[in-house]
């Protein structure tokens, strides 16, 4: 990584910011009242390269608890043309989004049919997030948007849409429901690792020859070998692909292929290749960049930068499938509604 991009990263990154919740904490059970989120921290942008500490076996130390929670969208919003907000604009964008999240929903509306995230500390503003002046995580192409699908990608998209339609309604079967709702895998795993919305946390543990990245949801431990072994044979296909890593100076470069094609990251095929770069640029920040390539979907690669900010553990077990009562509730509810409709129709025709 050259000095110029380090400077620009330093300039871009506001550091780890925490917006204190506006909630009253005085009446809350004692353990929560006692614990307060730490104040916002803004490291001074610096041109000096940061030298990370080393693990006992000499790897740059990436260990600890990290979050990729962010208010920066993957793609540049409509109507925004600049790449970098001014600090005031970035603050305003975060504030507006945080207020939207904290808004109380209107009783009797679909949005109200949900527990309140803020009660459970699940709004982004209630825990650490990686702040940035960027208007989009995508840094290449320069317009901050995912490139257009090529002909193959469009064809595949159309085939998938047709298959969805043929499969019937969203609650006809569990297989018609979103992969995350089914507790198979969620977006935080990737790769690339995307903001999960809440519990957007990772634990990195290193041992000689390995880096392990544990994604909180759904307890996904990606073990990356560093010994230059060959990529797995084509017959091995995984939801998270198969990762191979190496250190280039202080940057961990991870290449992942062998995806199973069922995760369809932004419409990609099973030939997706993701290259991630992890560089610790401060005690409390890892610069995380990922490049997405799939000639069967896009005619060019695209790259995003989504910093990881230091956060607190622990990562409690996110056992999802085991207590996924929602699936049977939703399916049973849909069947009950169909039954009621059918009985109404019968009555109507009598």
């Amino acid at each position: 990584m050259n000095r110029r991009s380090l400077v620009s990263i330093g300039a871009l990154v506001l550091g780890v910011a925490v917006l204190l919740s506006a909630s009253v904490v005085a009446q809350v059970p004692a353990p929560l009242a006692a614990k307060r989120a730490p104040a916002a921290k803004v490291p001074a942008p610096t041109g000096k390269p940061y030298t990370p500490p080393k693990t006992p076996d000499g790897q740059p130390d990436l260990q600890g608890f990290w979050t990729n929670s962010t208010y920066v969208p993957l793609e540049r919003p409509q109507g925004v043309t600049k790449e970098i907000y001014t600090p005031a604009e970035a603050e305003a964008a975060i504030k507006a989004a945080a207020e939207r999240e904290a808004e109380q929903t209107e009783p009797g509306t679909t949005a109200d049919v949900h527990y309140d995230f803020s009660q459970f500390g699940l709004d982004r503003s209630q825990s650490k997030f990686a702040a940035s002046l960027r208007t989009s995580l995508i840094v290449d192409p320069p317009d901050g948007k995912i490139p257009a699908l090529n002909a193959q990608g469009q064809k595949r998209g159309a085939e998938r849409a047709a298959a969805r339609k043929a499969a019937g309604g969203p609650y006809d079967s569990v297989q018609n429901m979103p992969i995350g709702s089914r507790c198979i895998i969620m977006g935080g795993s990737g790769p690339p690792m995307m903001n999960a919305g809440y519990n957007a946390n990772y634990q990195i543990v290193q041992s000689p020859g390995y880096v392990m990245i544990l994604t909180e949801m759904i307890h996904d431990a990606r073990i990356i070998p560093l010994d230059n072994r060959p990529q797995a044979a084509q017959g091995v296909r995984q939801w998270v692909g198969v990762s191979r890593g190496r250190w280039e100076g202080n940057t961990l470069v991870v290449e992942t292929t062998n995806f199973n094609g069922k995760n369809a990251f932004r419409g990609a095929s099973e030939n997706l290749k993701v290259t991630e770069r992890f560089t610790r640029i401060a005690d409390d920040m890892i610069d995380y960049k990922f490049t997405v390539e799939d000639p069967a979907t896009w005619d060019r690669s695209w790259t995003a930068e989504a910093p990881l900010a230091k956060t607190e553990g622990p990562i409690f077990e996110f056992a999802c499938h085991e207590t996924n009562y929602g699936i049977s509730n939703i399916l049973a509810g849909a069947r009950a509604e169909e039954k009621a409709k059918a009985e109404q129709a019968k009555k109507g025709s009598n």
């Binding site: 693990t55 006992p56 076996d57 000499g58 260990q63 019937g168 309604g169 609650y171 006809d172 079967s173 569990v174 297989q175 089914r182 507790c183 198979i184 895998i185 634990q203 543990v205 290193q206 041992s207 000689p208 390995y210 392990m212 544990l214 759904i218 307890h219 996904d220 431990a221 073990i223 070998p225 072994r229 060959p230 797995a232 091995v236 995984q238 939801w239 998270v240 198969v242 622990p314 990562i315 409690f316 077990e317 056992a319 499938h321 085991e322 699936i327 049977s328 399916l331 049973a332 849909a334 069947r335 169909e338």
Partner: protein, 271 residues
């Protein structure tokens, strides 16, 4: 008949001897000392797997027919010498009844059938490898089966904040042995496919040490006053997966059980 009686006594005698021999099987190569990890602790890093039939039944058992007819011999149960020291699990009378009910209904009740997390110590002897990733503050156990993960806290130790499938583990070194103390279990996992179970009072203390360059000694002491009349112990060697480029692969089994769990709630074609 006299011959049948003698045969029964002989078999019982052999089984008792073999059960006692389980404790001797795991004897250390005299004087073996594992290489040091970079921080000076014994190096237990690696990909490990048990080679036994404890996951079918942790007690001594004979080979038996498959509970699923169509699987024929591929679903049949292989025999096992048992991994429980002393041979029989010390259930209370009510718990033994429950164990036997579990066993009689195991296809419906075994959490493994539903791709649920395996719990402890079952995760150790599932027929899948697991990887030990050893760092100073945390030692991670990453299981291929269902991607189960255990975090062993070597520092910043606290009590379990809530119950979980894999429990809350605090670890320490006693010389060459990693001692892992785990509590905070829910009551939903089993010890094997044969209905052996526990309550949420389960407390497991594991002792793991290097036995040779490519084997570990593994012992687990299990305590559960709601289910057993006294603590009991199991032990087994663990074998390193030594093939080049060995790695933990994906056994993301949720997809494999969705029709089993939710098929009855599928929309049926209209009449």
């Amino acid at each position: 008949m006299r011959n049948r009686f003698l045969t029964r006594v002989t078999v019982a005698g052999i089984v008792t001897c073999l059960a006692a021999a389980v404790t001797l099987v795991t004897a250390q190569t005299p004087g073996y000392r594992a290489p040091r990890a970079p921080d000076g602790k014994p190096n237990l890093n690696g990909i490990w797997q048990a080679i036994n039939t404890a996951n079918y039944d942790i007690e001594a058992h004979s080979a038996a027919q498959s509970p699923v007819l169509e699987m024929g011999a591929t679903g049949a149960v292989p025999a096992g010498l048992g991994v429980v020291e002393g041979g029989t699990l010390p259930y209370t009378p009510e718990a033994l009844k429950k164990r036997n009910e579990n066993r009689a209904n195991r296809l419906k009740l075994d959490p493994e059938v539903k791709c649920y997390l395996p719990g402890v110590p079952r995760g150790t002897y599932m027929p899948f490898p697991f990887q030990i990733i050893q760092s100073q503050k945390h030692i991670m156990l990453v299981h291929e089966y269902a991607g189960a993960v255990r975090t062993i806290y070597m520092a910043d130790q606290t009590e379990a904040p809530a119950d979980s499938w894999m429990g809350w583990s605090n670890g320490r070194w006693e010389g060459e042995t990693l001692v892992v103390d785990t509590k905070g279990f829910n009551d939903l996992s089993w010890f094997d496919r044969s209905g052996n179970f526990h309550s949420d009072a389960l407390h497991v203390v594991e002792r793991i040490s290097a036995r040779s360059a490519d084997t570990l000694n593994y012992e687990a002491t299990v305590e559960d006053p709601k289910v057993f009349t006294r603590p009991w112990k199991m032990s087994m060697p663990l074998y390193r997966r030594v093939e080049p480029n060995a790695q933990i692969l994906e056994f993301r089994c949720v997809e494999f059980v969705e029709d089993l769990l939710y098929g009855h709630l599928r929309k049926q074609p209209s009449q």
